[in-house]
Symmetry: D2
Subunit: 93 residues, 4 copies
Amino acid sequence: MVGYSITKEDYIKRLRRIEGQVRGLQRMVDEGTYCIDILTQISSTTNALQKVGLGLLDEHLHHCVKTAVSESDKAGNEKLDEAMTAIARLMKS
Amino acid sequence: MVGYSITKEDYIKRLRRIEGQVRGLQRMVDEGTYCIDILTQISSTTNALQKVGLGLLDEHLHHCVKTAVSESDKAGNEKLDEAMTAIARLMKS
Amino acid sequence: MVGYSITKEDYIKRLRRIEGQVRGLQRMVDEGTYCIDILTQISSTTNALQKVGLGLLDEHLHHCVKTAVSESDKAGNEKLDEAMTAIARLMKS
Amino acid sequence: MVGYSITKEDYIKRLRRIEGQVRGLQRMVDEGTYCIDILTQISSTTNALQKVGLGLLDEHLHHCVKTAVSESDKAGNEKLDEAMTAIARLMKS
């Protein structure tokens, strides 16, 4: 895997940090922090979330999808279609 | 404004909902929820965050930037450059 | 497949239309068309390009990657890593 | 300006290079180039297009929008709303 995949504990740790960033954003808005600084924090939070998404996708492809492809052509295609829909959605988000 | 701008309370309400979504993501990872469902939630969270970003940018342009432009050419240019940097960053996130 | 995949001829047809859009952009810049209208055309061209990218990715997963996964675990992993790198790049572009 | 803005001739030069990239993509598809290599070229073309978009937006803000803001509050707001719509569209493309 290309370095996106991490352990379950690491994902939760990362998501907890993201939760902290979102709470920080509430504080920033509440205290009237300068808009541009809030936007910087939003970009950084979004990037962190998308890295988590890429990690989960990487794992999904290396496990679920690979297993399905090994099982049968039909199962493989279904999992790949489902993954493509998720990829297209991530790309637009 | 094009409908992005909302009150401070609304921003905080939205960010609280996003915080809830991120906590939901932790639970999903912890409970071993199906990857694709987690990815759907990540896309939705990212979209919500970016909407908050667009709202703040909208307000920033309609207030800070407009005021600066009215003050002096130099002040206006500085604020616009700063906004452009934030826009480019949001676009890549 | 989720409807992204099309024939080679269709890809080329789409890319020719995109080439026409890019030539249209040159004309617009040259004639001093209103910036916002040029930006609308840029968004539409970028979207069209990304759809071509999703289509090619879809095919790649359903053919190359599936074949590699069926061949051996190592071959499958290599193709999946490579695909993940491309997905991450598309996501940031 | 933050370095996005360039002269009209430079924009056209850049767009011509992008047109060349799109023609290259047609050749790649036609010759059956490896999918991942085509996707790399698509990412690079999309990035180049978005840089042109950021440049035009930068200029638009520094000229049209600034002039409108100096003219009247109403004119300024209209231009800013219009710019926000374009920014939101670029962000999703």
